[in-house]
Amino acid sequence: MKASPLAIVLRYFGLLCVALLTMGPFLWLLSTALKSGSENIFAYPPSLLPEQPTLENFGRVLETQPFMLYLKNSVLVALLSVTANLVFASLAAYPLARMEFRGKNLIFVVLLSSMMIPFQLLMIPVYSIAISLGLQNSYLGLVLPHACTAFGVFLMRQAFLGIPKALEESALLEGLNRVQIWWYLLVPLVKPSLATLAVFSFIAVWGDFLWPLIILDDPSYYTLPLGVNRLANTFSMDWRLVAAGAVFSILPILAVFLFSQKYFIEGAMRGAVKG
């Protein structure tokens, strides 16, 4: 049974409808961001395309808010958090997958069950712990809660379990120690899973709002989501500026996404199978 041309046309029609649903709001945002100050954005009927497309709104946003600083903060926090998560999760996953030691099952179960705990329950104590550690208004404070996730440990353990034991045994006989085996032998073999974990933690950190919201009161540490929120509070009436700021905050992750689209979706699929 080969798909009929009609079925293919219907399928593309369905695809286009859903694409309109997911892309539409973004396009409307972009259109608003490009409308000039003289154009009435509340006009009825609304004009779908800007009459005289202009970048002036972006200029004004950068003038009034340090968006470049927010971008730098976001990038820095994301890079540090993702790197830390990759290192710490794959370190912890190695003994859980490959070594025998006292308390192994207990540690694994406790780590696993910590995935169930919603951050919203923890935000109050984590906040007071972070305050007492002097982490308020610091990059370390933004990074640490993201620096190792139980999900990451779980995902990497699954990856290590898939590697034949014989490989590791021969390395032991060669006289390599555990750290060398981990770094030179195992880590290169689980690169696909590392990519998956990187994608997941990148999305989580980049979009995180609640934690930075409660741990920061100094705007010079703001990440993009907080910056956009601040912009919206300052210029609640001028949607052109808010839209420009939102577009500005989407562009970097959009670039990363388009560049590594394969890893995003395939990585997410791999995570789905294993997680």
Binding site: L15, T22, F257
Partner: protein, 324 residues
């Protein structure tokens, strides 16, 4: 076993079963010797590998968890010395109409959002599970809302939902409604409008999970069904959906946990209003803790949230396991 030869010593090829067993024994013996040398340090190795992860998860998840449970039994407010108050906070919660209201909103959220997010992405996944030209582009486009930060998503939709906005324009010009809909300003609509945004963000995420599930279904099942002349529609119903059950279980658990935790959409679009109609449990906790500084009280509500999440996940898993 072949790799053991690379060490150079056991080069004698095992030409009989006996010698094979012997060389395997020697091999295992040597591995054990390596593992047991300097045994004090070796015994510590696994713990050293685990240390950073356990320290971070311990400090930012497990300890706070205990701390939250303890705090829920005090009048902790970060200003005055906290006093043990027993179950007072929980008793107050039971009598607090705002708490009940937020609990009601959260449960309503679950009832509407979870079924939609369990079912709709299946259709999306079926739609993109074909190798057609441009299909990868469509997958990427459907995934876009997932990578966008929720704050930005909330702002975009706030703008789309405007009385004079684009959505009302389409509704009016296509004749679906006669008057502009007050999406976010009418208490009867606001919660549903926020829900729609949560659904919009989740579609692509769960689509990918289903897509993974679909691609793990053996192809020969469909080929056999084709030979038997079973229609595509019946194939979907009797092969695809039953074999997708593990993915459905994952999506049910994940989407209900996500629906319990809704915060950003509410914070950006409605601040819990109008008339508290969109105040969810998490928003209630946030307000109690960081606007009214009643940390102990908020912690008690947090414990309730946790227990609900736990019960919900267990129920979900149980329901879907029994069917299998």
């Amino acid at each position: 076993m072949q790799t053991s030869n690379s060490s150079g010593e056991s080069m004698l090829a095992p030409d009989s079963a006996g010698e094979g067993a012997l060389s395997r024994f020697r091999h295992n013996l040597r591995i054990r010797r390596v593992l047991q040398s300097s045994s004090v340090l070796n015994a510590l190795v696994p713990y050293l590998f685990l240390l950073p992860a356990c320290a971070i998860i311990g400090a930012f998840v497990l300890y706070p968890m205990l701390h939250a449970i303890m705090a829920s039994l005090t009048d902790y407010n970060m200003i005055t010395e906290s006093q043990f108050v027993g179950a007072d906070n929980y008793r107050m919660l039971l009598q607090d109409p705002f708490f009940w209201n937020s609990l009601k909103n959260t449960l309503l959220y679950l009832l509407v959002v979870v079924p939609v997010l369990v079912i709709a992405p299946i259709f999306l996944a079926l739609l993109v599970n074909r190798s057609l030209p441009g299909i990868k582009l469509f997958r990427a486009v459907f995934y876009l809302p997932v990578i966008t930060s929720l704050v930005v998503t909330g702002l975009i939709w706030k703008w789309v939902y405007e009385e004079q906005g684009i959505l009302n324009y389409f509704l009016l010009s296509s004749g679906i409604t006669d008057n502009p809909v007050a999406f976010l300003t009418d208490p009867a609509n606001a919660l549903f409008s926020v829900m729609a945004v949560t659904v919009w963000t989740g579609l692509g995420y769960y689509m990918v999970i289903y897509l993974a599930g679909l691609q793990s279904i053996p192809r020969h099942l469909y080929e056999a069904a084709d030979v038997e002349g079973v229609s595509k529609w019946r194939q979907t119903l009797f092969i695809t959906i039953p074999l997708l059950k593990p993915s459905i279980a994952v999506v049910a658990v994940m989407s209900s946990i996500a629906a319990m935790k809704v915060f950003e959409e509410v914070y950006v679009m409605t601040q819990g209003g109008p008339l508290d109609s969109t105040k969810t449990l998490v928003y209630f906790i946030y307000q109690s803790a960081f606007e009214e500084f009643e940390m102990g009280y908020a912690a008690a509500a947090g414990v309730v949230l946790f227990l609900l999440t736990l019960v919900l996940s267990l129920v979900n898993l149980f329901l879907l396991r029994k069917d299998r």
